[in-house]
Symmetry: C2
Subunit: 333 residues, 2 copies
C-alpha cells in the first residue's frame, strides 16, 4: 500500500520503519530539516546492497522509504496518510492536506477534538498506546507496536471499509487493534492515563516542605509519583485536551478518598476501612488480563464495538475479523 | 552487646543475622516453632568449623546465634530487646516482658500508639524502612539494612544515652538513622506510605466496570496502582493504626485534586492547569536527594531532631554524632 507518514518523531518514525519493513511503499515528512535528513540517510543505508553481516543493515523495506520535502509532495499518490504530529500542530497540517481525497488517520491521545477538527476528511481516528519515555526519530523502533494496544475509532460516520483497511495495515505490525468510539476512548484514557498523572502530582506535593517525609519515602511513593516528573506543560496539555472526560471522572476519585477518610474516623477504623479496599485489590491483582480467548467475529460495527467495550482487540483481518476477548469475559463468548 | 530479637520474620530474622555478623551476642525467639527450628538450624551451620569454600558458610557471628524457647528465656541477660512482631501482637509480647529492665525498641510502622503501649518500659521507638515484598525468616537477609532509613524516636522522655546506644548498634549495619519524634514520624509515613496506598486503591477503582480502560492501561496506571495489590487488611491496618495523621493529611490531597478539576473548567484549561503542576514536577525530579553533605554535630536532642527534620540522617556515633544533611539543605550547613 502507498502510505504517507507526516511527523517523524518516535511514533511516526517507528511507523515509517515498521511499514517499510512490511513491504509497503512509505513516504515520510517532518517539519524539521534535520529529522528529514536523518530519515533520508537511514533510508539510503536500508537501500544499500546486502552486506556481509546482515545485522548492520537497518530493518526496512527491500528498498527503504522516501522522504519528501513538503506535505503535498508526501501525500501525493498516497492511499493512506498517517498524521503523527502533536495535537497543537494538527490544524496547520490539516490545512496543507486540502484536496487530498484518500484515507487519513492520526495517533494523538485524544480523539473527540481531533474528530471535530478533521471532520471534512475521510478520517478514522487512531491512538497507539506506545511508550513515550524517549522521543524523536533517533529513538524510532520498527518493533514499537508489537503487542501495543492501538485504538481505531468507529463512529456512525466511519466507513467500515476504511476502518478495516487500517486494521489490516497495523495488525501485521503486532498491534492489538481496539475498536472504540472517540467518546469511549477519551473517557478510558482519562481513567488510565490523564488522571493518574494528576494523582501523581497531588501525591508528590505531600513532600513539599516536609524533607523528613522525602527522606523516608521509598517504593510506594516512588511508583505512585513516577509520572509526576513529566513536564507540567505536557500533563496540562493531555488533561486540558481531554478536560470534559477528566472532569467527569475525577469526582469519583475524590469521593473514594473522602469515603476512606470518613471510615478512618469511625471507632474501629481498620474494620471500617477494610471492605472499601477489597475490590481495588482484586482488580489490581487481576490486571492486566493474563490471556485473551481467540474469537472470530463478523465485520460489523456493533460486533467490533462490543469487542472493544469488553476489553478485547482485533489481531487480524480475514473474511471476518479475528480478535481476542479478555479471559474474564469468557462466559460471554 | 547482648541483644534479644523477638519475632524472626523478614525484619527480625535479618536483624538477628546482621547483628551476629557484626559480633554481637544475639538470641532470637519466634512464636512459630518451625521458624525457631529454621533459625536454630542456620545457627548451627554458621557455627560449623570453616569449610574449604567460605561461600557455603552463612554470614553470622563467629559462633552464630542462640534461639530461645520463650520470651523470658530470650531476654534474660539482654541489654537490648528488639520487638520485631506485627503491631497486633505487641500487647501480648509486652506482657511477657514484665520484670525486664533493659532497653526496648521495636520496628513497627507507626510510632505514636506503640509509644503509649510501651510507656512503662525503657523504650526508644524504631522503624527501619526496609522492603516488605517478601516475608518470613527464609527471606531474611543480613544486608537488608544497608542504606536503609531507620527512624529512632527522640521524645522528651527519651534518655539520650539510650538513643545513642541504639544508633551505635544499627549504624554499623549500614542503616541511616533518622532522629524524629513519634508524631513527626507518623505524619511522614502517612504522607509517603499510607496515603499512597489509598490513592492507588482509588485509582484502581477507575477500571471497575470499564474493561476498555483496563485493556488500554499501561505504564502510568501500572505504577500508580502497584501497591493497591497489597491485601486490603494490611492497608487498612497501616492506615487505621495511623488514622489521626492520615486524616490530617488526606484533605490536602483532595483539595489539590479539586483545584485541578476547577482549573480544567476554565476557558483555557491548559494554561490554567499548568502552573498548578510545576512544583510537583520540580519536587519529583529532585527526589530522592542525590547526595548528602557530611556533617558532624553535637549529641544533643535538638541538634539531632533538627537534622532529621531537614531530611538528614546519622551515619555513625563518635564523640559527637556524624551525619548527612540532604544536599538541598547545604546552604544551612
Amino acid at each position: 500500500m502507498n502510505v504517507a507518514v507526516i511527523g517523524l518523531g518516535l511514533i511516526g518514525g517507528s511507523l515509517l520503519r515498521a511499514l517499510a519493513a512490511h513491504g509497503h511503499h512509505v513516504t515520510g515528512y517532518d517539519i524539521g530539516a534535520a529529522t528529514r535528513r536523518a530519515a533520508a540517510a537511514l533510508a539510503r543505508a536500508a537501500e544499500a546492497p546486502p552486506v556481509a553481516d546482515p545485522e548492520t543493515r537497518p530493518v526496512g523495506i527491500k528498498g527503504g522509504w522516501r522522504v519528501a520535502d513538503s506535505i503535498p509532495a508526501a501525500v501525493e499518490g498516497a492511499e493512506v496518510v498517517v498524521l503523527a504530529v502533536p495535537l497543537p500542530a494538527l490544524p496547520q497540517v490539516v490545512a496543507e492536506l486540502a484536496g487530498f481525497d484518500g484515507l487519513v488517520t492520526d495517533v494523538t491521545s485524544v480523539k473527540g477534538p481531533v474528530r471535530t477538527l478533521l471532520g471534512d476528511l475521510r478520517y478514522v481516528g487512531g491512538h497507539p498506546m506506545a511508550g513515550t519515555a524517549e522521543s524523536g526519530f533517533l529513538a524510532a523502533d520498527p518493533h514499537l507496536f508489537d503487542g501495543c494496544a492501538w485504538v481505531l475509532c468507529l463512529e456512525d460516520e466511519t466507513e467500515l471499509a476504511d476502518w478495516v483497511r487500517l486494521a489490516g495495515l497495523f495488525t501485521p505490525l503486532g498491534a492489538r487493534i481496539v475498536p472504540a468510539t472517540a467518546e469511549d476512548h477519551d473517557e478510558a484514557v482519562a481513567r488510565i492515563s490523564h488522571i493518574p498523572h494528576l494523582l501523581a502530582a497531588a501525591l508528590t506535593n505531600l513532600i513539599d516542605g516536609h524533607p523528613l517525609a522525602g527522606a523516608l519515602a521509598a517504593g510506594s511513593f516512588r511508583d505512585g509519583t513516577r509520572v509526576a516528573a513529566t513536564r507540567a506543560e505536557l500533563i496540562a496539555a493531555m488533561c486540558g485536551g481531554n478536560e470534559a472526560a477528566v472532569r467527569r471522572v475525577l469526582p469519583g476519585v475524590i469521593e473514594d478518598l473522602t469515603g476512606y477518610a470518613r471510615r478512618l474516623a469511625e471507632p474501629d477504623p481498620v474494620g471500617a476501612l477494610t471492605p472499601l479496599l477489597h475490590r481495588a485489590g482484586e482488580l489490581r491483582r487481576g490486571w492486566p488480563a493474563a490471556q485473551g480467548v481467540p474469537v472470530s467475529l463478523a465485520l460489523d460495527r456493533s460486533s467490533l464495538l462490543e469487542l472493544g467495550r469488553a476489553g478485547g482487540w482485533v489481531t487480524g483481518i480475514a473474511a471476518e475479523a479475528t480478535g481476542m476477548r479478555p479471559e474474564t469475559d469468557r462466559k460471554g463468548s
